[in-house]
Every structure is written in C-alpha cells, then in structure tokens.
Symmetry: C2
Subunit: 253 residues, 2 copies
C-alpha cells in the first residue's frame, strides 16, 4: 500500500488537478486508487461527481466509529474511489483543539487497507491542521509547484513543515517528488524557474512537466479527469507520464 | 475613509496581485493607501519589500495596545503603506478561540484613521477567522474571480459568507464589485465564463478585465507592482482602469 499526500500551501497550483489526473492515470494501468479529499472546499469531491455526501472526511476525522470504507464512493473512473469532503470539515480543527492525537486522525483510519491500494490525499492551501493530518498519514508527499517566483519561496516553508512532521511523529515521510505545474511554454520565465528548481533539488524534480492548457477547465466542467476527457491532449499525456514516474519511484524504495 | 476587503477562498485567483496593483494605481492618482496583509503566507508583505517585520498584523490582532500606526511600513510605491503579516499570524485564531469580539479585532484597529485614507485588506484562501475579520472590518468587498468553472461554484459560497457577516455584525458591508482575473483571451472559455458572471450578477461585474500575462511574474521577481514595473503593459493598464472604476463606485455610494 502507498499513501501519497499532495501538498502546497500556495493556492491554485494544481493540487486537485494532480490528485484527480494522477489517480485516473494510475487506475488506467491497473492500480487500485482511493482519493481522499481533505479540503473543506471539496473541489475534488465535486469533480468526482460525489456531491451527494452523507458521510465525509469530516466524520472520518471526528468519529472513532467511522471507517474509510463507510465514506468512500465510486467515481466516473473505473478503479478510483473517492472519500469525499464537505465544508463542515473546516470546523473539525476547532472541535479537536484540545484532543489527544489530533494530527493522527487520518493516519489511524488508513491502517487496515487492502494490499496494493494507492491512497492519494488532496489538501487545502494552508499548512494547518488538515494538511498536517495528511502529512502524518502519508509515507510520501508530492509537491506541485507552479513555475513562478512566489512558488519557490513557498516551497522552502513547505519543506520545513515536512521536516517538522518527520521529527514529530512520522519519520517515514519522504518527498516523492517535486512537480512543475501550469508550465507556460510560450515564455522564458517558466523554464528559468524550473531550471532553478532542478539546480536546487536535483532529481527530486520529476521529469514530467504539466503544461498550462485550457483543456483542464473544459474537463472540470464535464466533471471528468482530463486524462479521460481528452486522452491525447498534452496535459493528459503528461499525467500518464507522471503516473509512470510515480510507479518507478515507488519500486525504487 | 474607505475600507475594502479583497476576498475569495479559492487559491491563486489574483487576490494579492489585485491588492498590490489596485493600491499602487490609486496612489498614483493621489489617494492615500494602506495595504493590510491578513494572510499568514505574507505574499503581499514580501512583494512590498517588508520582509524585516518587527510588529505585524499578528500583533495588531492579538495585542490591545498595538495600533495600526505601530506596524505600518513604507513600500517602494509613493503614497502606499503596508501593514505586514508573517506566518505566526496563523496561530492567532487558536489563541483567540475563546475570546470576546474575536471577529472585530481588525475592525477595532481601523477606527481612527485619517479622512480620505483607502485601506485595502488582502486575505488568505479560506473562509476562516482571518477572512471573517477582514469582512467585518470592511465596508466594501471586492471579489476577484478567475474565469473558470470552479470559480463560479466558489463564488456562491463566498457570497453566502458575505451575507452572514452582514447579518452578524456588519450590516454596512456591500459588494464593491466582481473582477474577472487571469482572463485568457486566446480561448472561448474565459469569455463564456465572464458572460455567465454578467448574466448572474449584472453590473456588479467590473467592466475592467485583468488579462493573464506573464508580466505579473516578472514584476513579482522585481518586488514592484506591475503598474510600476511595466506601466504600458495590458495588465498595468487594466489595473489603472480598475482604480478609476473603484473611485467612481465609491462616489456613487
Ligand atoms: N495545467 C493546467 N493548465 C491550466 N489550468 C489548470 C492546470 N491545472 C489546473 N488548472 C486549473 O487551474 C485552477 C486551479 O487548479 P487546482 O484547483 O487544481 O489547484 P489547487 O492547488 O488544488 O487550488 P487550491 O489551492 O484552491 O486547492 C483550476 O480551475 C484548474 O482546473
Ligand atoms: N493576471 C495575471 N496573469 C498572470 N499571472 C498572474 C496574474 N495575476 C496574478 N498572477 C500570478 O499568479 C499567481 C497567483 O496570484 P496571486 O498570488 O495574486 O493570487 P492569490 O489569490 O492571492 O493567491 P492565494 O490564494 O495563494 O493568496 C502569482 O504568482 C501571481 O504573480
Ligand atoms: Mg485544490
Ligand atoms: Mg494571496
């Protein structure tokens, strides 16, 4: 079993698009995938067609009796289940403010999954309680990074948070990789930023580059991952290539 | 005096770029501007060159004795001051969890500003404590909206939050306007989304459209607002036009 958190506190850098499309691409090559929505804004949930939510990740986090199998729902993608969220998840942090093991809530619920399952966790644009839960539950973290200047600054703080989670309870957590997203090939700027990422982080940076393309928005409107909506588009091909890199890096460890 | 909150819980839709460039464009036509950073990620603070922060919005929110004049710093833009933030602001919410008037912390500190000042508040990508403080302190809220499908969904929840703030303590709060940002003119999609915004919200939607252009990233690297870094670029012209609309809408009320 692999548990991968997708995290970056900067907003709108492609976390949700990555969880959705990486998940679909892995399922398309035979993997069993569970996508866990830990963002109260529930974008992943909405695009996965799971808007009628009875039990959600809010219940998973707050109620000891609720297991992951009680909340998962099918998605339009064969082989992909989703554990949906809803906006009441935002109140979970305050409800758990004085509780024991508050950062282990998600980890405890992933303990007894079937062998060979790949869990991918979507996180909100913050380094708060929910993201810490995701990082504590995961063995691997994938960092989508938009190729812009602000993204580099945020990455340093994000990596400090990853280090802090390793020291305070999850020493197994490692960086699966850094993914250049929303790459605008028409400009020099994006390439310069990615070069700087590689200079700094070497082969932690995935070879795959996710191009900026409007096809992602059309796929969102259709509530279908781009890898299914337009399988031959550059964005879809990139996420299939990412899936291969993720599988290879999983075997190497 | 005018207090304008810039808010949208979706990440990366141009909140900070709008605060920065609208503020600079207003100062360029003679207005006195204070930018207030209420985001613990402190992007506005960093781009305003205020990285050496002693007292910040965290102290403004937590300490009764700290006034706005104690924390504001000059910026590279004549006529624009910044009230900087830093990541410790993220802990403020938990510190105030049981306090009285916790949503009035910023409002109380804006009470005695000079006539004619325009305060613009930058907010984090969430509908939590800090955004509620901004909406409670402001008389007007500007909503930057990226022209994509997810943006429309988020807008409804954002407007419900605005309504809730009006009912629970700030009946003066009104929507100053809805701003189409990161508009990709090369595609049909952006225009369709903006048409839908206008169909739904009529003349709440600003006439100004902020185009998507890589010049914003170059300006960020230079730590200068685009309206100063490349005054003749389409993005700079758009924010100057927005400043005019903001001034006109202020007189109408
Ligand atoms: N490669 C891409 N090219 C163009 N648009 C993209 C791309 N990836 C994602 N998008 C779109 O950009 C917007 C932001 O992407 P997404 O929601 O995946 O980011 P996020 O990091 O999850 O945002 P948040 O921080 O708000 O959760 C969405 O409308 C999405 O459809
Ligand atoms: N019109 C535009 N065209 C191209 N890039 C832009 C534009 N406006 C902003 N950007 C860039 O896009 C990124 C996101 O913008 P910005 O930080 O202003 O959004 P935000 O809503 O404040 O994000 P967050 O939710 O993380 O606070 C930044 O790197 C910024 O420089
Ligand atoms: Mg997301
Ligand atoms: Mg911002």
């Amino acid at each position: 079993m692999r548990v991968i958190a997708v995290a970056n506190q900067k907003g709108g850098v492609g976390k949700t698009a990555t969880v959705l499309n990486l998940g679909a691409a892995l399922a398309d090559v035979g993997e069993r995938v569970i996508l866990v929505d830990l963002d109260p804004q529930a974008n992943l949930t909405a695009i996965s067609g799971a808007d009628e939510v009875e039990l959600s990740t809010r219940d998973l986090v707050l109620s000891p009796d609720v297991a992951l199998r009680d909340i998962v729902q099918p998605t339009p993608v064969q082989g992909v289940l989703v554990a949906p969220s809803e906006y009441t998840l935002a109140a979970a942090e305050a409800r758990l403010a004085s509780e024991e093991r508050r950062q282990w809530r998600v980890a405890d619920k992933l303990a007894d999954l079937a062998e060979g399952t790949i869990v991918i966790i979507d996180t909100p644009p913050s380094l708060g309680f929910l993201t810490i839960n995701a990082l504590t539950a995961a063995a691997e973290v994938l960092l989508p990074v938009q190729c812009s200047y602000l993204a580099m600054k945020g990455l340093q703080q994000l990596l400090r948070t990853v280090e802090s989670v390793r020291e305070h309870g999850n020493p197994d957590l490692r960086v699966l990789g850094i993914l250049a997203t929303m790459f605008d090939g028409r400009t020099l700027h994006a390439g310069e930023v990615r070069d700087r990422l590689i200079a700094h982080f070497g082969d932690q940076v995935f070879e795959t580059i996710i191009p900026r393309t409007v096809a992602f928005d059309y796929a969102t409107v259709a509530a279908v991952p781009l890898v299914h909506y337009r399988p031959e588009s550059p964005g879809a091909q990139a996420y299939r290539k990412l899936a291969q890199e993720v599988l290879e890096r999983g075997q190497a460890s």
